[in-house]
């Protein structure tokens, strides 16, 4: 396969991975962030700590444990392999799981901050007018925080595009399945193909800069 086709394929895998991961996180994060913002439970701090772990842990730590968990004898691999007959290690599905964990704080964090800054009286007014809990969340909280939702989604997407350490540990560098752009770049550098390396690195740099500039401009942060 030519270099251009190889890079295009890696770009496709990267985009798809970021898209699927962001979609999953935009389903999971709003309720989780809402709970974190509102609860008085003693479990709030530990749960927030677990969610924030990928911010401080080296991605290789997550990747190491995930690979062990994905093995057919591991807790996740046993379920997936045994019940569904699908392996997780070295598959796109495995990468989605890893990316979702890795990018979770980048989506949940901004949402929780936004929820905490909300005007509670609006919610009380809605409740007194008879709006149900789910109704309040779907028709009041989410529309009011749509900027935060979009910002969180963009961050989650961009962060997944920028992933390297976890993919290195659990991906297996399979073209069209787990070879993402950051890995393709690493390969090019090892082969001393600086032309290909510049193409990938430059594109990633430009992409990240454009996305972040657009986000900051739009949010007027």
């Amino acid at each position: 396969m030519g270099i251009a086709a190889d890079i295009a394929e890696a770009a496709w895998v990267t985009g798809l991975l970021a898209l699927v991961t962001t979609a999953i996180l935009l389903l999971v994060s709003p309720p989780l962030a809402w709970w974190m913002a509102r609860t008085a439970s003693k479990w709030r701090a530990p749960v927030e700590a677990v969610v924030a772990l990928p911010l401080v842990l080296p991605p290789t730590v997550l990747g190491f444990y995930l690979l062990l968990a994905f093995a057919p004898s591991g807790p996740l691999g046993a379920v997936s392999h045994g019940l569904l007959g699908v392996p997780l290690a070295f598959t796109f599905t495995g990468l989605v799981i890893g990316s979702a964990i890795y990018s979770l704080p980048f989506v949940t964090g901004p949402l929780a901050s936004a929820f905490r800054a909300m005007d509670w009286q609006l919610l009380e007014a809605a409740a007194s007018l008879g709006a149900s809990r789910s109704g309040r969340f779907l028709r009041l909280v989410l529309p009011l925080n749509r900027r935060a939702l979009i910002a969180a989604g963009v961050l989650g997407f961009a962060h997944t595009v920028g992933e390297f350490g976890i993919v290195l540990m659990i991906g297996g560098n399979i073209p069209g399945e787990t070879r993402v752009l950051s890995i393709a770049l690493f390969d090019r550098v090892e082969m001393l193909d600086y032309g290909g390396a510049h193409l990938i690195a430059g594109s990633l740099l430009a992409f990240s800069l454009i996305v972040l500039t657009a986000t900051y401009r739009w949010l007027r942060l």
Binding site: I170, G172, I174
Partner: protein
């Protein structure tokens, strides 16, 4: 506060002096040679500071100017390229590698590769053992799914963790296991299935060249060569 910082700086300097002594010889060592290197490093009088990686990665780092005194590659092409471009001298074979297939389930053999398996190999474009693994798979017409690892060390890890069904590794890595690990078995790949893995070393120019020469002399000694063969080389 300032006094405390001074004391800290002084003790760090002292620590550096005691640990440092002589400047250690900086070695770029191909991952497959790790266990053999650990066996033989004690016999060399000077302190050694090895950095491990795939031959391709280490070669790229040397070209980019990372300071090394010796490069123990897993192939011939990369040390020779350094010699041609004037970055290294005195190429010499220090070990001849042997490829092995390590498997988690069943009996390792050429026939094992006929099944629908997922087998880890080192990156064929940067790691000679990966290239040899690819040649073996092609020679046997095996249709296993190839999982590409960074280097033989990661290929070994992919199999040992159970995530891959098996891996092509250096025999030296298997020999280095403290004891045979329960469900695994291995198969020494017949030499005719892959081009010989000649591992070449060079003295990297611009560093401690006298120290590097001494290390290459040490590697060529009969006793050292016997220890290297015992570690899984030929």
């Amino acid at each position: 506060m300032a006094g405390r910082l001074h004391r800290l700086a002084a003790s760090l300097a002292l620590l550096g002096a005691t640990v440092g002594g002589a400047e250690p010889l900086r070695l770029a060592v191909a991952s497959n040679f790790f266990s053999a290197f650990v066996r033989i490093e004690g016999g060399f009088p000077e302190p050694l500071q090895p950095a491990y990686g795939s031959s391709g990665l280490l070669h790229a780092q040397i070209v980019q100017g990372r300071p090394f005194d010796v490069f123990l590659s897993a192939d011939k092409a990369r040390p020779m390229a350094l010699v041609r471009s004037g970055r290294a001298v005195r190429p010499v074979v220090y070990a001849k590698g042997r490829l092995a297939l390590l498997v988690n389930e069943g009996q390792a053999s050429g026939a094992w590769l006929e099944g629908k398996r997922r087998v880890a190999i080192a990156n064929p474009q940067t790691a000679p053992y990966g290239r040899a693994a690819e040649e073996t798979l092609d020679a046997l017409g095996a249709l296993v799914q190839r999982i590409t690892a960074l280097n033989v060390a990661q290929a070994f890890h992919f199999a040992m963790s159970g995530a891959a069904d098996g891996a092509f590794v250096a025999l030296a890595q298997i020999v280095a296991l403290p004891e045979p690990v329960a469900p695994t078995s291995y198969w020494i790949v017949p030499e005719e299935l892959y081009a010989p893995i000649e591992q070449w070393a060079v003295v990297v120019s611009g560093g401690d060249e006298a120290g590097a020469e001494a290390l290459l002399d040490y590697l060529a000694e009969d006793g050292t060569q016997a220890a290297i063969r015992e570690a899984g080389y030929r």
